[in-house]
Subunit: 494 residues, 2 copies
C-alpha cells in the first residue's frame, strides 16, 4: 500500500466537487474545501454522506484512516499549502479563468491544478496563470466517487510531467486516467455523450419516443455492452471471424443513410422543456433525487463488483486499486512461526459480493475462506510458488465443515488453524472461523491433506524442509487443547 502524504484542496463543492472530496477523504487525504455559496457546506456534507454509504458498500469496509475535511471561508486559505487542487466551478469560461488565476496566485508554485470542466479548452483556462505549466483538465464523471474515468488534457502551456504526476495521483485514488492527447472541445467522452444526447432529444422532440422509452432502449440493450466494452470492440465481435474490417464493409454503408438530424439541435422552447420535464417526472415515479441517487449508486456498485469478479473493464481498475491497498492477507508469511497457539492466517471483512439476499455471508464463501486458510498454512510451511513449480503440492482429500453462526456485510472475521497430525505425506488440520468483533465461533472445518507429486500425479513425501516445519507446528500445537469437534462424525438421525 502506498503512503500518500499530500494535502488536497477542492474549489467548488457541488455534486462534482463533493464527489472529489469523497475520493480524497476515502484514500486518507486531508481536504480543504472552498465554495462561495453559503449553502455549499450543507450540500457537500450531503454528497459526502451518500458517498460514504456507497464506498463502504463498494469496498465492503470503511477506510482505516479517512482524511479530514475543512471548509474554508476564502479561496486563499483553502489552496495555500495544498499540493493537489481540483477546481469544479460552474461551466463558464470567464468565471473559471478568474477562479483558476486566483488559485494559481495563492497556491504553492509547484502544486498541481486540475479543472473538472467537461468541455472547455485547457489553453483558454490557463491563459491568466503565472504558472500555467502545472495546470490541466481532469474531467471526472458523476458520481465521481464511483466511476473510475478521469480524462486528462493539457493546454498549450502545460508541462507533460504535470499530467504524468497527476495520472499517478488519480490512479492511486482508484481512478482510470485517460490522457486526451489532442486538445478539442468536449474531449473524447463528452463528444460521445453529446452525440447520444442530441439524438435522444430529437427522438423526444419529434414525438417518436418518451424520455423513458429512450432510456429503456439504452439500458435493456446496447447500454449493457457499452458498460463492458465500449463501441469498437463490440462491433469487432459483431464482425464475426473476419473481425473489424468485415464489420466496416457490412455496416459502413448504413452510416450514410438519412437516419439522423444530429447537426441541428432542437430549439429548447418552453413547451419542449416542459414536455421533457413532465415525462421525466413520470419516469421517476415519485422517487426523490436522493432515492434516485442511492438507486443509481447501488446499481453502479453491483455492476462494478460483478466486473471485478470477472476482472473485466471497470472491475479491473477496481481490483487493482483494492489489491494495492491490502498489503498482504497473511501476517506470518516468511517470518519465524509462533506456534504456541493456533495460527491466525486469515483476517478479513465480509464483502458485498459474498452476501446472500438475507445480507449474510453465503455458505460457499465459508468453504472458500477455509480453503484460503489451508493455502496460507501450506505457505507458512514452505510451499511457495517455487515449491509448486518444482512439482510438490498439498491436495485436500477430505473436509468436515460445521456452519454455526451467520455473519453480516462489513463485519470482520478471522480464521485460526491448528495442526492435529502429520506424517511424510499427510497433514490433518482444524480451522475455526470467528467473528472478530464479538468473538463468536462462526464455523469450523476439519481437513485432511495429501502431499502429491503433481508431475507423476500421485501421493509423495513432502521435502525434508516442509516435513520439518509440519513437525514443528504439530508438536507446538499438540500442547493446545484438541478441538472437541475433531474426529467426530456428522450426527445421525433416525
Amino acid at each position: 500500500m502506498m503512503t500518500q502524504s499530500y494535502t488536497a484542496a477542492c474549489v467548488g463543492a457541488g455534486v462534482i466537487g463533493g464527489g472529489w472530496v469523497a475520493r480524497f477523504l476515502w484514500n486518507g487525504i486531508d481536504v480543504r474545501v472552498h465554495d462561495p455559496d453559503p449553502e455549499s457546506e450543507r450540500r457537500c456534507r450531503e454528497v459526502l454522506a451518500n458517498a460514504e454509504r456507497a464506498l463502504e458498500r463498494l469496498h465492503g469496509h470503511r477506510p482505516e484512516q479517512p482524511g479530514s475535511v475543512t471548509f474554508c471561508a476564502d479561496l486563499e486559505s483553502a489552496v495555500a499549502g495544498a499540493d493537489v487542487i481540483q477546481e469544479s466551478a460552474p461551466e463558464q469560461v470567464a468565471l473559471k479563468r478568474r477562479i483558476l488565476a486566483d488559485i494559481d496566485r495563492h497556491a504553492p508554485a509547484d502544486a498541481l491544478i486540475g479543472s473538472s470542466t467537461s468541455g472547455l479548452l485547457p489553453s483558454e483556462l490557463q491563459a491568466d496563470m503565472q504558472h500555467p505549466e502545472r495546470f490541466f483538465v481532469a474531467h471526472p464523471f458523476n458520481p465521481v466517487y464511483l466511476l473510475p474515468l478521469v480524462e486528462l488534457c493539457g493546454g498549450a502551456k502545460t508541462d507533460d510531467t504535470a499530467i504524468e504526476r497527476a495520472a499517478g495521483i488519480y490512479r492511486d485514488l482508484g481512478m482510470r486516467p485517460l490522457w486526451v492527447r489532442r486538445e478539442i472541445d468536449g474531449f473524447i467522452a463528452d463528444r460521445l455523450l453529446e452525440a447520444l444526447w442530441r439524438e435522444a432529444l430529437w427522438l423526444v422532440h419529434d414525438g417518436v419516443a418518451t424520455v423513458e422509452e429512450v432510456d429503456d432502449a439504452v439500458r435493456f440493450g446496447a447500454g449493457l455492452r457499452w458498460a463492458l466494452m465500449g463501441t469498437f470492440q463490440t462491433y469487432r465481435i459483431a464482425g464475426g471471424e473476419q473481425g473489424m474490417r468485415h464489420f466496416m464493409a457490412q455496416f459502413g454503408p448504413a452510416l450514410a443513410w438519412p437516419w439522423t438530424k444530429l447537426m441541428d439541435v432542437p430549439e429548447l422552447t418552453d413547451e419542449f422543456v416542459d414536455r421533457i420535464a413532465e415525462q421525466s417526472d413520470d419516469q421517476a415515479r415519485g422517487r426523490s433525487i436522493r432515492e434516485l441517487e442511492r438507486e443509481r449508486d447501488d446499481g453502479l456498485i453491483a455492476i462494478l463488483q460483478a466486473l471485478r469478479q470477472e476482472n473485466l473493464a471497470a472491475g479491473n481498475v477496481l481490483g487493482e486499486y483494492e489489491a494495492s491497498r491490502v498489503p498482504s492477507v497473511t501476517a506470518t508469511g516468511g517470518h519465524d512461526l509462533d506456534a504456541s497457539e493456533p495460527l491466525r492466517l486469515i483476517e478479513d471483512r465480509v464483502q458485498m459480493a459474498e452476501i446472500d439476499y438475507n445480507q449474510h455471508m453465503t455458505e460457499s464463501r465459508y468453504t472458500e475462506h477455509f480453503g484460503r486458510a489451508a493455502t496460507e498454512l501450506f505457505h507458512v510451511l514452505g510451499v511457495d510458488q517455487a515449491y509448486i513449480d518444482a512439482g510438490g503440492s498439498f491436495y485436500t482429500v477430505e473436509s468436515h465443515t460445521r456452519f454455526l453462526r451467520e455473519i453480516g456485510l462489513g463485519e470482520t472475521y478471522h480464521v485460526t488453524t491448528q495442526v492435529l497430525g502429520s506424517d511424510a505425506k499427510r497433514m490433518h488440520a482444524f480451522h475455526r472461523m470467528y467473528n472478530t468483533a464479538t468473538g463468536d465461533l462462526l464455523a469450523t472445518s476439519e481437513q485432511m491433506y495429501l502431499h502429491v507429486d503433481t508431475g507423476a500425479g500421485r501421493a509423495a513425501p513432502a521435502t525434508a524442509d516442509v516435513q520439518a516445519r509440519m513437525e514443528q507446528v504439530k508438536r507446538a500445537h499438540a500442547a493446545i487443547e484438541a478441538p472437541e469437534a475433531a474426529g467426530r462424525p456428522i450426527m445421525s438421525l433416525g
Copy 2:
C-alpha cells in the same frame, strides 16, 4: 411456468438468427431453421454452443426440456406449420422483401412474422405480402440470447393485435419488448447507437483518439450509467434537487456549441478502414473472436446477475423471467417421486471457468455442485420460490466431503442423492459425484440440513407437505444400501 406449445421457425441463421434459435430452444420451443448458406448449420451450431454455455451460467442450470432444432434445406419446409417466424437475413431491403414474401406464402396465414432488421421500415418490408397484418419488426441486440431488448414496430398494414401477441411471446422468452410507436428508419435504439458510432468514427478519423481510447472513454465512465439508467434519468439526477428542468437550463446551451461533425460521415477510404482495423487488432491483443465473445458473455452475465440482485434495469427483466420459470427447475418437482434409487439431480459438464491450472475441476467447485444438488433436493421436496417467499428454507449446518478423483475440462459428471434420515426440522443426506462416462466415484458429501423460519431466524418444522415428502423419500431410500462412508469421522493421524 407458462406452457408454451408453439413451433418457431428462424429464416437466416447467422449471429442474430442463431441467437434467436438459442432463445427459443432454451425456453423449450422446437425450432425449424433455414439458411441457404451451406456453412450455416456449422456456424449456427457454434453460436448455439456459446449460447448454451452462457445461458447455463446466467441461470445457473440447464433447461429441463430444451426444444429441438431442425435444419431445413428449403424455406418452405421450415416455415410451413410454424406459429412464430423470425427473419434474420442480411440488411438489404430487396432481399428481405423477397424472403418475407416467400415466408408469407408458405406459412400459415395466422403465423406471426417478425423481422430482425435494425433499421429498415416495416411498411416497405411488408409490401409484397398477402397477409401483411401479422408482420412487424422485432429488432434484437447481439448477443440475442443475453440482451433482453427487442424493439417492436409495425408498418402501415400491421394489425396492432399481432404486435400485442408478439410482445407476450418475447416477454415469455425473457426479453423486454419496446413498442416503437412511430415508424422511423433506425427505430429508437439504432438512432442512438448510430449517433455515438458516428462521433466515435470522427474521433478516430481526426486522430484525436484510438479505437481503444474511445472504448475506454465509454466503459470506464458513462457506459456504466447507460447500462443502468440510460441518459435522461442520469441527467435528471445530475440536475440535483431541482431535477430535469434545472439540468436543461444549465447544460442546454452547451448543445449549441460547435463540438461535433455529426451530420457528416467520414469517408471510409481504404486508409481509414486500415487504420481502424489495425487499432482494433491492437486492442484485441491476440484474443480470437471466440475468446472475445466468451469474455463479452461472461461480462454481460456478471452485469445481468448483479442487476438482478439489485432488481434494477435489465436485472428486473431477468428476475421476473426466472421467477416465472422457477417451478420447472426440477424434473421431479410436482410429479410423483421415484425414490427407488438415489435421486439423480445434477448432470453437467466441467466448464472452462471451473478448472485449475492443471486442467482439473477445482475443489471449491465440487463443494458448489454438492450445494446445487442440495438445492435440487429441497426443490424436489416442495421448497420452491413460493415456499421460500413464505419464510421457509433449509440451511446446511454440517458437511463432510471426500475428494477422491479428479475430472477434466469438458468431462461429464452427475450427482446422486440419498436421504439417510429426517425429522420435522432436520434432514441428513449423502451425495455422490460420478464421472458419467467412466462411472468413477469422484467425491462424496454427507450433509446435515436444518429447516428454518427465515423471518424469525430460527429452526422451525417444515410444512406438513414437505415433511411428508421427506418421509416418503427417506423410507424409499432406507431400502438402498447405506453408504459405507456415512457416519464416519475423518481418519486421524499420529
